[in-house]
């Protein structure tokens, strides 16, 4: 019996989604604690989400500076002793700033949670923002800005943001050495009080843990000074786009950096799933048209991708790449040709099948371990998705057709209102 190596083994549809919906309990302040236990390793990931994103800041870097100051000392501990004690329990935390919110995450083993958890809560609720540490932070941030300004990719991305949000919008404003030097302690303290202490939105607990752990976390947060975030509609500024093509002189000439994009549909749009798949086919995975053309056919780049990022303020769809400087015009021309093609010509059933199956596999993977589950949970919470959403989503993916994709492409991937930035 010979082995036929030319024929691919039979492929099956995804049988089931390993998606146990998460539960929640309400904390005393009114904010919910969402939780889901699973996996094999006795680890804990606890996230506290605050209305402290970049879009809430008045001056550049205030949000990220405030986040960085959280481990620089509390009423009873210096920054050093806080970190030493956490290290002793093998735990660490970080506070990350995103466009729409900020997330403080504690990572630790369940067996050391009793030691680590009070320190984490103390860091978030009793930070004192010492002047000396602020000046060290400023000094180091200034050095980092100088380095970033030597990177084509950084210049390209920040210039794109400036164009799509507007230069006065918190998400569009460029960072500078002058602005960083001007940051004052009072500004940070104000942001801390308004956006952390009274800006607590919800908590997410994942990993493998027993029910006592939930109670412990609940009682510790309940006895802290955290207050629930109250929706405040008037502090978010509206964006203001400048479309068109923009060429910027690069500090480094070895490659050209480019970003081309526009506003995409929002998360609740009826064509959301179609657009997801369309983006995938266009530039969203290794088998995409952009990768095939610009990398695999022309060899002009190490990687080219398109991204679809639905946000609370804008839903941005964009293409990013570092390309061969000599042939940058060819690369840009080919990108626009692909854009034209995807709107003009029907996408084949085979191409849709590959992207669809790949996407289903990727979803399965994103539900595979408790830590990646937490980002899935966050999407559900932020966009108010139901428990049966995932099942429906898979059905929707299977319902996508060549026709529906063409319609969405014509509507959302046209040449109109494009912002193009080339740093070379």
């Amino acid at each position: 019996m010979g082995l036929n190596r030319e024929i691919q083994p039979i492929i099956e549809k995804i049988k089931s989604l390993n998606f146990n919906y998460f539960e929640h309990t309400d904390l005393a302040c009114g904010s919910p604690l969402y939780f889901l236990s699973g996996g094999t390793e006795p680890v804990i990931k606890l996230e506290l989400v605050f209305d402290a994103g970049k879009s809430s800041e008045q001056n550049t870097s205030v949000a990220s500076f405030t986040a960085s100051m959280m481990n620089e000392g509390t009423k009873t501990r210096t920054g050093k002793s806080l970190i030493d004690e956490l290290d002793y329990w093998g735990a660490h935390f970080q506070v990350k700033t995103f466009n729409d919110d900020a997330v403080a995450t504690l990572y630790c083993l369940e067996k050391y949670l009793d030691g680590a958890l009070p320190l984490f809560i103390e860091a978030l609720t009793e930070s004192i923002f010492p002047e000396k540490e602020i000046s060290v932070l400023k000094r180091n941030a200034v050095e980092r800005i100088k380095i970033n300004n030597k990177k084509n990719e950084y210049i390209c991305r920040t210039s794109f943001n400036e164009l799509i949000y507007g230069k006065d919008h918190p998400l569009g404003k460029k960072n500078s050495v002058e602005n960083t030097n001007k940051i004052e302690r009072n500004e940070l303290l104000d942001f801390y009080k308004a956006n952390y202490l009274t800006g607590f939105k919800y908590a997410i607990l994942t990993g493998k843990f027993n029910p006592q752990t939930i109670l412990k976390i609940q009682s510790l947060i309940d006895s802290s000074s955290l207050e629930q975030f109250k929706v405040n509609n008037n502090n978010k500024q509206l964006p203001n786009q400048i479309f068109g093509k923009h060429q910027i002189e690069a500090p480094n000439k070895s490659q050209a950096s480019l970003k081309i994009g526009k506003i995409g549909p929002n998360r609740k749009d009826a064509h959301y799933t179609d657009f997801q798949l369309l983006n995938l086919i266009f530039g969203g995975f290794f088998g995409s048209r952009l990768m095939k053309k610009i990398r695999e056919d022309l060899g002009l780049t190490y990687g080219i991708h398109s991204y679809y990022e639905p946000g609370q303020i804008l839903n941005i769809w964009s293409i990013e790449a570092e390309v061969n400087n000599k042939n940058k015009t060819l690369a840009v021309t080919e990108i626009y040709k692909e854009l034209q093609k995807i709107s003009d010509k029907a996408i084949s059933a085979k191409e849709i099948e590959v992207a669809r199956n790949y996407l289903c596999g990727a979803i399965l993977k994103s539900l595979d371990n408790p830590l990646s589950m937490s980002s899935r949970m966050k999407t559900h919470i932020d966009f108010g998705l139901n428990a049966d959403y995932m099942v429906k989503y898979i059905d929707e993916i299977y319902a996508v057709s060549s026709d529906s994709l063409s319609k969405v492409a014509a509507k959302h991937l046209s040449n109109e209102h494009i912002i193009e930035v080339v740093v070379s």
Partner: protein
């Protein structure tokens, strides 16, 4: 505890099976025992270029990626000094596609002149993107030939120069494949929602028919003991001066390796570390400073790397780092510092083990190092280290004669 079963096929392929019923996925990890250290000095960057060519189609299958994506799978690969590692994950019910793809490209490649030309272009862009297109990106291109004189670790995985990649031809590629890609030069890990029986069945079906090859294992030139301090200064368009000090250290399997790994954490990991506290906060000399080890299979490097503030001179920077290193050598390391580093290590190992793919990679690499049980012994290996071990070893390592210093200097206008 990571449970596994190890067996081998008649053609010399080593297989490690690791079952995890909690996942809906399966993983294949293929570690080929070839890295940039196995390259010839005038054909560097080859192992990595070859990794790219492995996706250009095999004897019976013109395209690698598409059938995998059709089966809902994802894949990637990386090349290091020591190995080339390929991995994929799939929904468990579609795993056989993975066996089909991986066995066919182990059997043989179908590289044509066009795919060779394109992949050379892609790798050259990768070279630029990672090493040339950012400030300090070429540190490894400068540091490694300073620290290593004989051992092939003296060039980075990407290669010594773009010209080596440009010059690669079809004959080189064919030879390289025959030399290195064979069942008896590979470790296969099958992990996820699959039982041992099924694993054996699929391995026998797809991999057993592949003939073994005569693998030449030329002994690598050993690095002679360094006898005196080495220095190199690089002028570049960078915003701040940077100093890198590197020291030769003991091999991966020795107790000393674990001691120095912990020391690199104590010295350089995070805001609580010695270097951060002493040189950033107390002495105000650096804007960033870090200590780490290269963690190669053969004797690697312990590295201290610091980006200096505008008023810090290279002399001040170097002196300040030596003061810290000498303190480590002369004073005992604080017991609590060690405990913290050990606990942090345990946490990071446990978090790493969450993902079946990580477990598969760890199993393959431990087997490559010669002891697959290492996956379950590492936490204890770290816990077994005492402060004395660290002090003793640091006395051997932190000597001026064992040190190579790279000074990365701001190029002023007009200078070359």
């Amino acid at each position: 505890m990571i449970e596994f079963t190890k067996f081998s096929l008649g053609n010399g392929l080593t297989v490690i099976h690791h079952e995890d019923k909690a996942t809906e996925l399966c993983v294949l990890n293929l570690l080929y025992k070839v890295g940039s250290k196995n390259e010839e000095a005038n054909k560097t960057g080859f192992a990595h270029l070859f990794e790219h060519l492995m996706f250009g189609g095999s004897i019976h299958i013109p395209n690698y990626d598409e059938p995998l994506q059709l089966a809902g799978g994802e894949n990637n690969a990386f090349t290091s000094n020591d190995i080339t590692n390929y991995y994929l994950s799939l929904p468990a019910n579609n795993l056989e596609t993975g066996f089909w793809l991986e066995s066919d490209r182990m059997l043989g490649l179908a590289i044509n002149p066009k795919s060779l030309k394109v992949q050379k272009g892609v790798v050259i862009e990768e070279f630029k993107e990672r090493y040339l297109n950012q400030p300090y990106g070429d540190i490894w291109l400068k540091l490694l030939p300073l620290a290593y004189k004989k051992h092939p670790y003296k060039w980075p995985t990407i290669g010594k120069a773009i010209a080596h990649i440009k010059n690669a031809n079809q004959t080189d590629v064919n030879d390289f494949f025959k030399q290195n890609y064979a069942p008896n030069n590979c470790i296969l890990v099958v992990a996820g929602n699959i039982n041992l029986e099924k694993t054996k069945e699929l391995c026998n079906k797809w991999f057993l028919p592949i003939p073994s090859q005569n693998i030449l294992s030329n002994p690598l030139p050993q690095e002679p003991v360094q006898r005196k301090l080495r220095r190199k200064t690089v002028l570049a368009d960078v915003p701040a001066n940077l100093i890198v000090m590197s020291f030769h250290m003991d091999q991966r399997q020795s107790k000393n390796f674990y001691a120095m790994d912990l020391l690199s954490d104590i010295m350089g990991s995070g805001k609580g570390s010695i270097l951060y506290q002493e040189l950033i906060k107390k002495k105000n000399l650096f804007s960033e400073i870090d200590a780490y080890i290269t963690a190669d299979a053969e004797p690697g490097l312990f590295i201290v790397e610091g980006r200096m503030l505008p008023n810090t001179t290279f002399e001040m920077a170097e002196e300040a780092i030596w003061i810290v290193l000498n303190q480590v050598k002369s004073k005992n390391i604080d017991e609590n510092d060690l405990k913290r580093a050990q606990h942090k290590n345990e946490t990071s190992i446990r978090f790493g083990d969450i993902n079946p793919l990580n477990r598969a990679m760890k199993l393959a690499y431990a087997e490559y190092l010669g002891d697959v049980d290492l996956v379950n012994k590492e936490i204890d290996n770290y816990l077994a280290i005492h402060t004395d071990d660290i002090v003793k070893e640091s006395k051997k390592v932190f000597k001026e004669s064992n040190c190579s210093i790279l000074s990365y200097k701001i190029k002023k206008d007009g200078s070359k």
